[in-house]
Symmetry: C2
Subunit: 455 residues, 2 copies
């Protein structure tokens, strides 16, 4: 039986996952390239051990893709399982209680970079497939697995690979576990994601750093000019002021908004325990879940320029740079938003400053129809395993691959994530609740059985 | 004769100066502490060799002061020679044509960090004193020399030493060579300086870096909040918007403004060759020389926060920091301006952000009476050596010690600098014109002779 197989292999499943987290596969940092390759090889080996066939490590111009399949269920639907083995950088290191790449179990959680996003969640797929094969000798559906190593850096290689391999990847539905439960214990399917455009803005003032005594008052300052430019992007509340930015925004259906209002959302708790600032910001006429799920954002991720070392250096900086992004909601076209932003930068750059925009990557927002049979099977499996009705939510995050699957393969995606809202993705002390790792393995296995027509 | 002594010792004077520039006495960087101490020892040795007496290396809580004197001219005035042996950091290193601490002669200039600011200029004093002693067997006035190693980090130790040693340092006038000729070949005395308040502003948003997908739209962003705060400090032209900031600003006399209008200032040349930005900024109703000499400024020297590495990291940053300053003009009180700024920060910090101000150092602006006998002697010496009438200008830079000499010793300062406007102080490829080094030695020697009553 499935549940007893999972129970009796728990220690090994965990031990394998910890091995994977120990590999610092930080995709954005060139010095971690060997680790990224090592993580890919480890994932490929585990897929083979789980009974998948045709295991391939596919070279790309940056980090490899891992592919595998099992296609011996004629007449049954095909599920394309997706995940990523790369992780975000771990800095600032001094804020981690235990080292990011020495995963540690504390209070029932796995602590480590990638514990939840996405090594732990991706590995639930691998162990669900292993468990089904071990218990039944076969899988209840046809399965293709595609795992990437560039999700945290924009996923350029998989974005090229999917449209170029439509036949190989053809499936009825995709399964992605890179989202969170709405609350611990509440079975949750995510049916909407925001898109993302990531950009750099570089500002130039004087041709070299100048002495602020000799030139201050007459020479433009690149850092101040960039601050002035960026500050104009939003009003004091957080409403984006770039003209046209809200033009194509699709409002959620009234029923969807109504269901969000029934979710156990506690604004005071969200502020105190998750955000930790004196108050929240954002569009005052929108409830918090709208702000983070169905409204576009403009965010500055980092800024640098001039002298920031110890002591006092009195320069007028020649150059400054900011990393910024837009989160997009369904119907917003990334190309159009980029053009709006470039036009706005050109018109709003302060006198004496030249500003340049560089687009790093981008993808649209997405919504999935909750009536699709795979979504129905997933909701039923979740309810069966967790004992509560499944809720349908959105996520404000971006999983660009979901858009690529829709566009190039014409398939929807089941977003069945077992993370928790306080898992600290991208932050120090990222964690994944150990019980949810096992619940996820069981739920995914039961979803595949139900979707394959079993009871 | 003075001029032939200087001529026949040129090579040695230069060689000694280059030795001093080779010592990377960067006062703000703790790793250069041994170099700072080495520079102090070298200066002390050279003062002794020049015939000064009572040479002392005075320990402080940070970098040593160097003192020496020669007090054998009874009935003659006493001149307090001041300079600094510390330098600004050299970064960004890749923009230097030759390494900052391997001084090189090219096209008649000495290139190196500190070549002009202030090692080269300070060393003119030492060699002028040596030359007078060598030629005349004595000095024409009493001389005290006080050289510090913290000018580039706020000069805290000398600011304590001067009021605590008023008797020891008593003099009739101070001599400082840390300013520039208005134009090459134009003898120039600086009779006004701006003051400086250097501060850090630290902004806090969420209690940790947050995932911009999951929290974007509701969580405040420390980098964006700091940019919004700073942007409000000035309007698009560059007028400071902090209430009360212009209240105590003293307008220059009409005659002084009229003399500035006669200076060979070429705005197009200043823009193209010195600043190098698309256009200048600043108060539109003020001429450029007013903007940089007699108007207060608010400047952002550096900013940092969030992720600025390679690639894309999607965080809402928890913290951001900016280094800022005010340049002050005569009659503005530093304490009052700090209070105005702190009040403005408290009132203008965006919702959800906490901002904190830390004062690193501060000192007032200063003007000197051009009718003082020492100023008159200096102007005459300049005209004699350079063959043109001396012009009186101000500098927008800050030499806090001039204010301390006025406050605690009750003496004015002759600011006789031989730098040039394009010497790139604080920037890569700092230089000092070699001919001006020798002209400076001769001019200072002749000033001391004239001030001592000689012809």
């Amino acid at each position: 039986m499935l549940s007893s197989y999972i129970e009796s292999n728990k220690e090994r499943f965990l031990s394998e996952l910890l091995d994977l987290i120990r590999v610092p596969s930080v995709s954005t940092l060139p010095e971690h390239k060997p680790d990224v390759d090592r993580a890919a090889a480890m994932v490929a080996r585990r897929l083979g051990e789980a009974g998948l066939e045709n295991v391939e490590i596919i070279s790309t111009s940056r980090h490899p893709l891992v592919y595998a399949d099992w296609l011996h269920a004629p007449g049954k639907p095909t599920v394309l399982c997706y995940g990523h083995y790369d992780v975000q950088p771990a800095d600032p290191l001094d804020l981690w209680t235990s080292p990011p790449f020495e995963p540690t179990i504390r209070d029932g959680n796995i602590y480590g970079r990638g514990a939840c996003d996405d090594k732990g969640q991706m590995y639930m797929h691998v162990k669900a497939l292993e468990s089904l094969r071990a218990v039944n000798g076969r899988l209840p559906v046809n399965v293709k697995v595609l795992i990437e190593g560039e999700e945290e850096v924009g996923g350029e290689s998989i974005a090229k690979y999917v449209p170029a391999n439509q036949d190989k990847l053809q499936a009825d539905v995709a399964l992605v576990s890179d989202t969170a439960l709405y609350a611990d214990g509440l079975p949750t399917l995510c049916v909407g994601l925001r898109g993302l455009i990531y950009l750099e803005v570089v500002a130039h003032g004087p041709s070299r750093d100048l002495h602020s005594g000799l030139y201050g008052g007459a020479a433009p300052n690149a850092v101040f000019g960039l601050a002035q430019l960026l500050a104009k992007a939003k009003d004091a509340d957080g409403r984006i002021l770039i003209p046209g930015i809200y033009a194509d925004v699709e409002e959620p259906a009234a029923a969807e908004i109504a269901s969000w209002k029934r979710l156990p959302f506690d604004e005071a708790e969200f502020l105190a325990n998750e955000v930790g600032s004196p108050r929240l910001t954002g569009e005052p006429d929108r409830m918090i879940l709208e702000r983070v799920w169905s409204r576009p954002t403009f965010e500055v991720h980092g800024i640098g320029g001039g002298f920031t070392g110890a002591g006092s250096k009195t320069v007028i900086p020649a150059e400054a740079i900011a990393k910024v992004s837009f989160r997009l909601v369904p119907r917003q076209d990334p190309g159009k938003v980029i053009a709006l932003f470039e036009d706005w930068v050109a018109k709003n750059t302060p006198p004496g400053i030249r500003a340049r925009v560089r687009v790093l990557n981008g993808g649209p927002g997405i919504v999935v129809n909750p009536d699709h049979p795979a979504i129905a099977a997933a909701a039923a499996a979740f309810q069966e395993v967790m004992g509560k009705p499944t809720v349908f939510i959105r996520s404000g995050g971006s999983v660009p691959i979901v858009g690529d699957f829709a566009t190039h393969l014409g398939i929807p995606t089941v977003m069945m994530g077992l993370g928790l809202p306080d898992d600290r993705l991208h932050s120090p002390n990222e964690k994944f609740k150990l019980a949810n790792f096992y619940t996820g393995i069981m739920t995914i296995a039961r979803f595949l059985e139900r979707y394959g027509g079993g009871s």
